[in-house]
Subunit: 199 residues, 2 copies
């Protein structure tokens, strides 16, 4: 598009969004410029603010605007339950689909030596300390049912056993090879309700 | 999502993009925060810059960062050919698909009395003045083949006749009821090449 370098740059930048290719990016750019400049301005501000101010909770590693996230700081949540998930999006899926009222721990990944992701990168030290505090009575393993997720679940169950904490895993019902993020709420709620003791 | 109001606001703002619903917006927000903060920062800057600095050319009404766009200012384009399109995205489609080297006029809409779009909103005054200048020898009508686009084409052909300018229309081959933006380049190039004289 030779009329505007800024437009070409915008189209290129839109491709950082997942599922957006050249054609979609072009359509999005023209749409907002022709019909929704206020929306585009708001999106620009919120993207900048989110990137600038959303960090990770020091205690659970989930997304947070403050040093300790609202979950970890809440007096209303059951501190004896700790649900371990791979990513913030999985945390949101569990929170939105189930009636869970305990706390979370976010690995920000899964065991994957080829990608350089080992126990250190997943914050296993922090989790070990947390279990040693003695407050947690059940560790709910909610990693994805993929090969790497299963390996991570195995590591987590050993960790729980070493700390003398009961470990549970989401019930069968979660489709193998799938991702928590994309499961319908009903299935996820069912699997959460019938979680089973590991080992 | 109760951990971060900024995150909820970002998800809501992403829905200004066409084809992005609640689920896609959530996926996009988590994706950029987890994996591509640099991309998100760049997108925020470019969105803001585009909205701020891309306006409309005073001569052709297409997108431009300057008062007169690069097409209208170019000495390399044939000033005797004027292609009239409904929107900037159609202009880009014609420019990318065909070997057209003339100028453009962008209506920024189509005749649609119910939406309050009449000749005044489409810049017909400006187009009439342009034709009266006597430089244009062929008006290429490239409105969409929809009911409103056809009505607009009819108005344009009258305008050309009144000014004594030859009017042509894209050849049959463009599927009826479709939108220029979504046609494959080959079909659009063919239709452009076999455009026919109106009336």
């Amino acid at each position: 598009m030779s009329t505007s370098p800024l437009l070409a740059e915008l189209i290129e930048a839109l491709r950082c969004l997942p599922g957006v290719g050249a054609k979609s990016a072009q359509r999005m750019a023209f749409h907002v410029l022709e019909r929704d400049r206020a929306g585009a301005r708001r999106l620009a501000e919120r993207l900048a603010a989110a990137v600038e101010r959303i960090g990770n909770c020091r205690r659970c590693r989930g997304f947070s605007e403050t040093e300790i996230c609202t979950f970890c700081a809440s007096a209303a949540r059951d501190r004896g339950l700790l649900c371990v998930v791979e990513s913030p999006v999985d945390q949101t899926a569990v929170e939105q689909a189930t009636g869970y009222r305990g706390l979370y721990f976010v690995l920000l990944g899964r065991l994957s030596p080829l990608d350089g992701l080992g126990p250190k990168e997943l914050g296993i030290d922090l989790l070990t300390e947390r279990l040693a505090e003695g407050e947690v009575r059940e560790l709910i393993v909610a990693t994805n049912p993929t090969v790497e997720g299963e390996a991570t679940a195995h590591l987590l169950s050993q960790l729980a056993r070493d700390a003398g904490v009961r470990a549970t895993r989401l019930a069968h019902g979660v489709p193998l090879g799938g991702e928590l993020e994309f499961i319908d709420r009903g299935t996820l709620a069912h699997a959460f309700g019938t979680r089973q003791t590991l080992l």
